[in-house]
Subunit: 376 residues, 2 copies
């Protein structure tokens, strides 16, 4: 993997860049649609490519390990061959999912023992086997195995957890370095900064993570319920410590406003289920603001879903039609809403990139944030 | 509407033709994907056009009348404007749905009183108001309001029902002729032959329907549980009576085999929820045979869903991947399966048309039917 910084904003800490992977280039800042089980919910791959302009998608190690199972993905020749997505893939390590989804879990020094949320079967994730699994899945970008602390979290718990995450990271790095790329293309490992909302811990963690010298770095444990102000404070503190010449990934974030603020603080990569999950529930992000498409007021509103959208489907279909589909529980409603939201997110980061390059990011950000976050 | 017969098979009663509507040409024989609520379930309109090659779609008056309501569709400027489908649309009259879906119904001389399956509200469908509703929906092809008899059905019930359907038809035709096209393009009315599985009644009905001199004719009350042999017997009997120079529509049919047999008996138009409904449940129609994609045997079968498919998605995605999505209840599974099945159905009728024109329909039909209906 290679990262070039192509522009830096003067008024903020925003940066534009490009990441080169063996599955293609990623222009940063970038938003990564979440394909939990190897596919973005309700969205075809041809739509990701042609309507949404996705450059990289995310997969979840926890889910893929349980279903279809690493063996099936390995037999297919990796996740790219399995799901036919030709661009870069990043896999989450499962650190977050074993805490949020698994039925019973025991955190031990060697790893996390848990029971599958599907059938109760017992499994263990260790830093080593999670590296091996992600190698086999064939992710271009592999995430370190960490403990994602909840919010709120006692200082003492956060401190101990952080130290465990750091010890696990050393084991991840060791295993990663001892093993080969699985399918002939290069794979890279991103470590994850933790430390809850404690400045001391975040500082300690960011310095430790930076010292590992990996090709990119991530910020975890945010967007888990804390106020936005705390998320931004921690993000800024960490970004200021992480090396400038490597991409920074703020995990699980967020709303369009969160993404714009994150970019302004020096973040390059984002992912979140919000555009697809909220879309399926009728929440639409448009260039004019946020719409609850189930609302009665759209019943006979025959204006386009988003007249300014980059996606022709949103300029063609009307609010009244999408409201009708959503009310009737038609699958197509979730399909259209997911494409709408993802295309807005991908437009947002592309536009941010342009504005950073032009040197007009700060003023544009203020203006567009007001428009995007307005409730219609 | 205009219909040209372009070729007739010598060995069977199959015909190739073309129907001209103000929303475009339909090449027959044709299969019409069902868009119950104005949209084909789990399928985008751009996919209907580009991946499936649909030439006409169906809407259901019963459903659209209840939701979003005729008033909303009228305000939109008709269903084409509401759902953005630019090709021809045929609407079912609701005759079938008031019997199969509505909670409580009373069949009276003037029409059918029923309660909505959604909220229990009371409504009445009469031949007159069903014509008016379909005018307002803006269907290119409007269906007569009929009683669709169940199977099995006593002769005396079928006879009385048939006479009611015929009296209703006279009222439908009268109302249709007294009213104007709703949105500046022409609309046409197809009457429906009933008579259950009784030759005498079918003959009487087909003669009565033929005598109305409408631009196309339909065969209803089949594919409701009777053995295939009875369906074919009734279809042949009716086709032999209906005028040759007008399209014949066999309603609610069926499997690929049913469609091939129907074509051989002189049917020009078909519709059925099978490709989409069964697709969502994991039943795939392919050029090599029928697949239950949930089956364990596909778990690590990395061959294409249908290597010979006209649709590139089916040549790209593997059986193992679709099985995985289907097992996980991913929305994308239903999307892919629906496109697969519909593109197979549309390929089938297009290919049948070619073979009729080439004069090789009979031998091709035998060969392809064996392949298509084989269980893999």
């Amino acid at each position: 993997m290679k990262f070039n910084l192509t522009a830096e904003d003067k008024a903020t800490k925003a940066r534009a860049g490009e990441i080169f992977t063996d599955h293609g280039k990623i222009e940063t800042p970038i938003f990564m649609p979440v394909g939990t089980l190897g596919a973005v919910k309700a969205v075809h791959f041809h739509e990701l490519k042609n309507f949404i302009n996705a450059q990289i998608i995310l997969g979840n190690t926890y889910h893929l390990y349980l279903r279809p199972g690493t063996d099936v993905i390995e037999k297919a020749g990796g996740l790219h061959k399995f799901n036919s997505w030709e661009g870069p893939i990043l896999t989450d390590s499962g650190g977050f999912q074993v805490h949020s989804l698994a039925d019973i879990r025991k955190i031990r020094e060697d790893g996390v023992e848990f029971r599958s949320h599907i059938d109760g079967s017992k499994h263990i994730f260790t830093p080593e086997n999670v590296m091996d699994t992600q190698r086999k899945i064939g992710a271009d970008i592999i995430m370190a195995f960490d403990e994602c602390t909840p919010y709120p979290c006692e200082f003492s718990y956060a401190k101990n957890s952080l130290q465990l995450t750091h010890r696990w990271l050393e084991r991840c790095v060791k295993r990663f370095r001892e093993t080969e790329c699985a399918y002939g293309y290069s794979q890279t490992l991103f470590p994850i900064v933790q430390g809850s909302v404690y400045c001391d811990l975040r500082k300690e963690s960011a310095e430790f993570i930076a010292s590992q010298g990996m090709e990119g770095n991530a910020i975890g444990g945010l967007s888990v319920g804390e106020p936005d102000a705390e998320m931004y404070e921690m993000t800024e503190l960490v970004c200021d410590i992480l090396p400038k010449d490597k991409p920074r990934y703020l995990m699980g974030v967020g709303t369009p406003a969160n993404i714009l603020e994150g970019i302004a603080l020096g973040v390059d990569m984002f992912d979140c289920v919000m555009p697809t999950r909220n879309g399926r529930n009728g929440m639409l992000f448009t260039k004019s603001g946020i719409i609850n498409i189930k609302n009665e007021k759209w019943k006979d509103d025959f204006s386009a879903i988003d007249a300014e959208s980059d996606c022709e489907l949103m300029r063609t279909h009307t609010k009244a039609f999408l409201r009708h589909l959503m009310h009737e529980g038609e699958i197509l409603a979730g399909q259209i809403a997911s494409i709408n939201n993802l295309s807005l997110y991908l437009w947002l980061v592309k536009e941010a990139r342009k504005k950073i390059t032009d040197g007009t990011f700060a003023s544009w950000k203020k203006e567009i944030m007001e428009k995007l976050m307005r409730r219609l």
